[in-house]
Amino acid sequence: MNSFLLATTIENWIEGGSIWPLDLIFSLAPAGVWAAIIHTALVGAFFGLPAGVLIWAERKVAGRIQDRLGPTRVGGRFGWLQTLADGAKLIQKEDLAPDAADKMLFRLAPYIVVVSSFAAFMFLPFSEGLVAVAMDAGLFIALAVLSIEVLGIVLAGYASGSKWSLFGGMREAAQMVSYEVPLGITAVIPVVVAGSLNLGEIAQIQSGGIQNWIIFHNPFTFFAFFVFFTVTLASNKRAPFDLAEAESELVGGFHTEYSGMRWSFFFLAEYASMFFVSALGAILFLGGWWTGVPVFESLFESIAGTLAWILGGTLSLLGVSASSDYLAICFGRMIGMTVLLAKAGLLVVVQIWIRWTLPRLRIEQVMTTCLKYLVPMSCFLFLGTVLWPLVLMTALGRTSLVDWDSVGERVPIPQQTVVAPVKPDTEAADEEAENISDELNDDSVTQLDVVSANAVSGGSE
């Protein structure tokens, strides 16, 4: 377990230890670009395919709930290619824009929606280290990016030049602005417990037994999860909060005037954010990529070890030298990702289940639910979580029910990650104050230092 293997991001992974055939490719562009590309590919893989699965799942689940079969024909037995068929149909459709529409905004709006909801995945760690951009403000920025989605919907509603669209957009705007308040507060509750905004760290501290999951940390976080889940339903315009596209009142809501792929973008975005918030909920409350059963963890570890041994052996037979430890960790992370996806998928199924079970609320009921119930509840839960350690400390003399380290100790000490090899510092005089990043390197002394050292002390080295 050397530091080399503990890359916290894909970028680090690329920079640090890419194996032989890949490093040639990686050297063509900066690591960040490759990280983005790989991540996009990953998202495409894990979302594009699952999106199809999700759409199919939605149909099937809806069918089952409504006591019918759902798609059965396309692609054989369960109709599992139904999504593909839908996609083919949508691509064929004409790309229309009404005369009354503001054409530019009308065309741009779906992109905003879809880009923002996909971009949010940049900050979502699928497993330990499997994240495109790992930053301290991860949760914060993920929510920020996700919130841009609403802009696209409002623009779409406005630009369509249709009153139904306008109403839908307005409803969506009102709903989103309101629900962002409890969403933020409930999302901050795990942050308070974990002591970090970094999603990777939040997930990391939930390792071990199921009692370490934040949802079971105290009664307030337990309820906070359900509030969070409810709020994410609303922020995704999922039933029973899908007032923006209420067919019975607004025809199609904000997407009334859209057709073809632009129309499907909205739904891609919706499913993407469905999945995103489910994964977010899993990371924040449900133990992230940890199964919650220590036996499983060790089991997975041994499986990964075995696989790595096999693969490593195979590779070495092929003449490629690869550290089996490294491969083991890679496989371990893959397994963790699978766990997370499973959890998120479960939550998505619940969302679908709710959609086809509960009737749609009226708009003022939606607002009432948020402003009169969810906001006070989330505030109360937040306060309770903040005060919980104090109460426990008073009553029991420690800050947690289970054997749980205090917040400050649980925060992983920032690891000394592997930095890209530093280029020889030949242009020190030109770079001057700008190349602050190089200062980490002990060998290079910035111009600033040189100047000052010469000016003042002279030969302080």
Partner: protein, 227 residues
């Protein structure tokens, strides 16, 4: 690559800002404003200010702009209605704006910022050196440590990860300045934080919230005959 990204976002930000000026439709203006502000937030990311960038996105793009659109929706009486200024005004404003831009740009580009910084740093070093000299300790190490702490603070992973430092600074503790450094007499250094401004801003926000709710509350409309 960095330069490319910078120029890309800088151009987008500036172009969108100009588009805000040139557009007459409020919603389009808002759209371009969002584009501009988002680009600015990317510039923030490039400037190693992740938290500020995220805040910019969340507050401006997600919050302010939605509020602006709200206002537009509630106040525009017809679709795509624009309130145009007279061309003379536009010309006049443009002249003034260009003059302003010329003024600011000339100021910006005429100042040798690096030299300024060097002078500042020199001054600080001098002070530190005099202090070290007096106390006769190994000042070379001291210099390094102090410089690094000033430049990076509590920031082990990446330069942009300023969230913790910002948070503690807003609570009044300056890890970014004080961690690993000592004061002039070897005691723990305690720089000034921002707890009080933070509290003031919090109260300010609350007051604004209440005031805005009061101002915008539904009331009986005043009938104006000639409006």
């Amino acid at each position: 690559m960095g330069a490319f990204l910078f120029y890309l976002y800088a151009i987008i930000a500036c172009g969108a800002a100009i588009a805000v000026v040139l557009n007459q439709n409020v919603v389009r203006m808002a759209f371009w404003l969002v584009v501009s502000l988002s680009s600015v937030s990317f510039l923030f990311f490039m400037l190693d200010a992740d938290f500020v960038g995220a805040t910019q996105l969340l507050i401006y793009v997600g919050g302010t702009v939605v509020l602006l659109i709200f206002g537009v929706m509630l106040t525009s009486s017809g679709p795509y209605k624009t309130i145009k200024s007279s061309p003379a005004e536009l010309v006049q404003s443009c002249i003034i704006g260009l003059a302003f831009l010329a003024l600011i740009s000339s100021t910006v580009f005429s100042v040798d910022w690096e030299a300024n910084e060097r002078r500042l740093a020199e001054f600080e070093h001098e002070a530190a050196h005099i202090h070290d000299h007096e106390h006769g300790v190994g000042h070379a190490d001291h210099h390094h440590r102090e410089d690094h702490s000033v430049a990076y603070g509590y920031n082990a992973e990446k330069e942009g990860n300023t969230t913790r430092s910002l948070g503690t600074a807003l609570l009044g503790v300056r890890f970014d300045k004080d961690l690993g450094t000592t004061g002039h007499h070897g005691e723990a250094k305690l720089s000034t934080g921002y707890l009080l401004p933070f509290e003031i801003v919090s109260v300010h926000l609350l007051v604004v919230l209440i005031g805005a709710a009061y101002l915008a509350r539904a009331k009986r409309r005043v009938e104006i005959q000639d409006a």
